[in-house]
Symmetry: D2
Subunit: 360 residues, 4 copies
């Protein structure tokens, strides 16, 4: 079989990670083209990575590129449009988290892909991060007995791209950006158990003036059998990137983290090039990270998606999973408004999740 | 270019790691065939991994298999024979550490490969382990100023295969098996600086009765400019596999380890399948390792070697490097005998390194 | 000045810690006597520790012992009676957490001690634990800027004494037992900032059948300026005792823990005597703790209280602090019932906190 | 019994640690007086710590102070004089490591104290550091089976006081200063097993120009039964104070460290007051240490010595232990000169250990 042709929409931070992942780890795929809103950026990224074509019009890119798969790394508000357009034109879709901005969009994306017989592959890389998958395997082997509590935290001091801070483009702040991982991973660990309620509290404290969105949030999801998942997501915490999990069962516990837990420890008087994503100085002590894309699971995830396309398999992370996660997040924003837990199912009539928290 | 055809000699522990590395991470190569001393084992390994051909006669395997590269994972005493035979028959050679048993063999392997225009690629994976390479990069960026001391330790409680314990096949014990990594990595970190002397002390204490070889050793290599490298290698230490480094410079330090430093932490009342290479029980606390082959650098190493073959490049780790490491180890065994540091160059007239320690 | 005479009420787990603390670290105090409900136990404890007198009637002990200070390590339901009786008879009071079972009791204890001019010293040792105090000092020095989030977790798999499981004696489960530390420490770190609301979720999952009380809880306290404190308290988590904190500010973070963070790391095939409080097996890997009483701050706390008595100073942790913590816990139990955050002030009319969660 | 009266000779870094230890943890002792070479310093130290008398003449201090114990924290070259003078005048002696400069001095100190019936208590605090003592206890309980290898490392980037750098006052550099701890601790762990040989390598690399002494050293001591102890001592390593041990037995391993292993982890943009002894900046990440004197064992050690004086007991660390350690260190300096291991017993005719390394 010839290589699967992929068109990448987006040339920001996540797109770079996808590119590295394809190039180094997914030989069955070839990146045909890349889109960026700015032609200059599209061209430079294409040249830097040896991608043949570049575009500054994503519809044209989909129509012209002869790709089989469209990998969408665009701002959230474009997810629905781009996914539907791709499916309507015969392309399978890889869609970065969060799925989209509201449940109507989610339904439309799922239905459009179904109607056109195209796969809608939801890119939640924590379902693939090798260290977390290893943890999941030990739990399947009985390491902790029955899980009763999970915790997932992610932090850094704010994303790179400006669109994250514009709620019209992002739909929300730290919870919208990172909560996906927490809720997606909880469902993954609990075999897609149903969330019955969500409580959340959030605040804008560090990026005041730059955004209306929350930059620090804590949410507690409760599952049918009483299991709880605690999600702590922040764009306000200092000290660099951090992603960690805790699993509690009646017969054991597991702790793991993807950054400091995979690092070398360096003390440098003068500092050096780069320690980790969004870290501060490299003077004094620092946690030196390696193979960041691999350790976060992006290569494993994209390899899986391409394999599903090539062999017509069902991906382990689909649009339905993305929609379930979106529903949990909508309930979280509502809870942060009311101060009470919000029960699921929950289908509010809003354009984007953060409206529930901000509006009266 | 079509895939590079590789024949694997050996079906033991290291061979499994090579197979996983090729299959998952080196798409430019194809494993044509596998040799094992026992036909049964060769057949099962071939079937398990989808390798087309299997052999129980390694010369026949080299002659018949139509391979371009022979990857030698055989007992040490066969390294020289197999490498020379392969080169004489037009094959490039990947040779697992240690290079061979003595300097005459080393010279012969290097000369034979040179004469037949074949590459002799010495498989020291610590030059490729992603975490250690990240450390090397930070040091190149000036993180610690000038290095003055290195330390590399590896431990487990004894290898799997019986041949390690037979000094006629192995040539030595823990130092022969693991010291390669230490000395190879010291040279790699110090840009192949010359070792001027070696001091070592060794002992058989845990596997007494099973082997005449040393199962615990400590060696100190001194370099031209006074830098020292401390190598601690053991088949006698408990608690599972461990591989760690320390780098000291006049402006900083770096600590890194490949096992506990890359693990999840699990507490399990009942235990679970597998924590790490040669670990004990998984009851109670354990360090749960993931992606072991990747984290030790085998895929990066083999991808590099295949790239060198495909594009006719010079590998970063060659037979000359293997010979330099062998010389250091010979000096170490001699030092362990005399109780004094041994100066290099050192070219004793022995069949295998451990003879220097054991014999009068 | 002669030594301050102390009478200890209680001979359980915490009492042992108090005894060790006085004997090793508070030379200005002398333990005159000890009370236990069972005469046998009182006698043995007294003999083991060289305490002169023992009693099985606590009122008699207070009347007879000629003590200056009564140190109350009794089941929660006795706290109010014993403290008031002690103060009425001219004794200063050290009262272990939680202060008592309800706000009426709290007011009575505070008022009684005030009326009789006796100190009511609330024993929240996390305000004294040397590692956590060191953290507080770095924060006072500006290490993290302005705090916006705190987290405190404590876990083990269930207390020793039977009374904890009897809600008539304890008043509640894991939150009542451990939440004191979290909320006491949050107030201590935030200079007694006011809690404006509390959300909590709790469950009985591990000790079902043994208790009606919750054995796993998560609570979020919100403060006036938006700072939040996350408290995770559990009698259901495995792997031994754990007590850890996280401090997040707009300019930094601090992580610390009192157990694994102060331990040696041991791998033992056969196991050994004792690793830590409520740990499982010492076979395989274990975290070996030392100086547990010292590291948790009990000696520092008791030395402070005795100093306050000797020099008529105001203790840094008083009955008013204990009452404030009790109010937060009452709100937490209420929140766990309603599923909504509960605003403070909160003064329910219940006999004990857990009634809010259990009763309709 | 009234308090034991102690006279402290010295007002440098170690003297401050001794003072804090007595004041906080050894109530049976009272510091009557303090000596410093500079009267100003003696006066300020005395005032700061509430010590009644101060002296700038140590003989006068011993004669006048009416002390029972002289605690000697003076430069090494004064140890013998001061100890003998103290004993001759009826005082017990606490002597900081190293015991003295040569074996003749050692014999004289031991003999003088014996003759005058005074205790000679050798202050090796690693025999008392609570974490290390906890480790020793687990090993006595069988945790690791039979020990075959030990490692002790200490590092910082150079002592405070100028006398350390003057070999006439110190007698040697990093090995003389820190090697005491390693060798003293090895003997303590192995029940005073006999050292049969020592190999060492050393270098002056960081403090060149400031001292003739070695500032980085590695030594390997071998014991009668083949057990080895690796000592790494450095005044050249960056990153702050570090003291760690590794214990290897045929049935287990133990790792422990006194600094990073007992710290909080802080990330601070701006930095804060003090992280640890001889640490660099507190900007970025740092390891925040607490209760340093306690965790290194000084209070436990001094409490033991005072108890021995009060109750006429034999101290667990005596002048004989100090002499045995000195002999090992002398052999180490000799080995560093010759490049061969040096057998014990070893009694060179030198004034100070470093003469063996420096002189022809």
């Amino acid at each position: 079989m010839s290589k699967t042709k992929v068109l990448l929409l987006g040339a920001g931070f996540i797109a770079d990670i996808h590119i590295e992942s394809y190039k180094r780890f997914v030989p069955e795929a070839v990146l045909l083209g890349i889109y960026s809103r700015t032609e200059q950026r599209a061209m430079e990224t294409a040249r830097r990575h040896g991608i043949e074509k570049y575009y500054s019009d994503w519809k044209k890119a989909i129509l012209d590129s002869d790709c089989e798969v469209v990998d969408i790394c665009l701002p959230n508000f474009l997810h629905c449009q781009a996914a539907c357009f791709a499916a309507e034109h015969g392309k399978h879709v890889i869609i970065e988290k969060p799925l989209c901005l509201n449940m109507d969009e989610a339904d439309l994306m799922i239905e459009t892909c179904r109607k056109y017989g195209r796969k809608l592959m939801y890119a939640e890389e924590l379902c693939f991060a090798p260290k977390y998958e290893r943890v999941r395997k030990t739990i399947k082997e009985g390491a902790v007995g029955k899980i009763f509590q999970l915790r997932q935290c992610e932090k850094h001091s704010g994303p790179h791209s400006a669109w994250f801070y514009d709620i019209e483009q992002s739909g929300g702040g730290a919870l919208m950006d990172m909560g996906c991982h927490a809720f997606g991973w909880f469902r993954w660990m609990l075999d897609r158990a149903k969330v019955t309620s969500v409580y959340a509290t959030m605040r804008t404290l560090y990026h005041i003036g730059r955004t209306k969105a929350e930059d620090n949030s804590v949410a507690i999801a409760e599952f049918e059998d009483g299991t709880i998942g605690i999600a702590e997501n922040s764009w306000a915490k200092q000290g660099g990137m951090d992603d960690r999990i805790e699993v509690y069962g009646n017969e054991g516990v597991v702790y793991a983290d993807l950054f400091t837990g995979n690092s070398a420890l360096t003390y440098s008087q003068k500092g050096y090039g780069y320690a980790m994503e969004k870290a501060g100085s490299t003077q004094g002590w620092s946690f030196t990270i390696f193979e960041e894309a691999f350790n976060q699971g992006y290569p494993h995830e994209l390899a899986h998606f391409i394999d599903c396309v090539r062999n017509d398999k069902q991906p382990v992370s689909t649009g339905e999973d993305g929609r379930a996660v979106l529903e949990i997040m909508l309930a979280a924003y509502q809870s942060a408004k009311t101060g009470a837990k919000v029960k699921l199912p929950f289908r509010p009539n809003v354009k984007k999740p953060i409206d529930l928290w901000l509006n009266d």
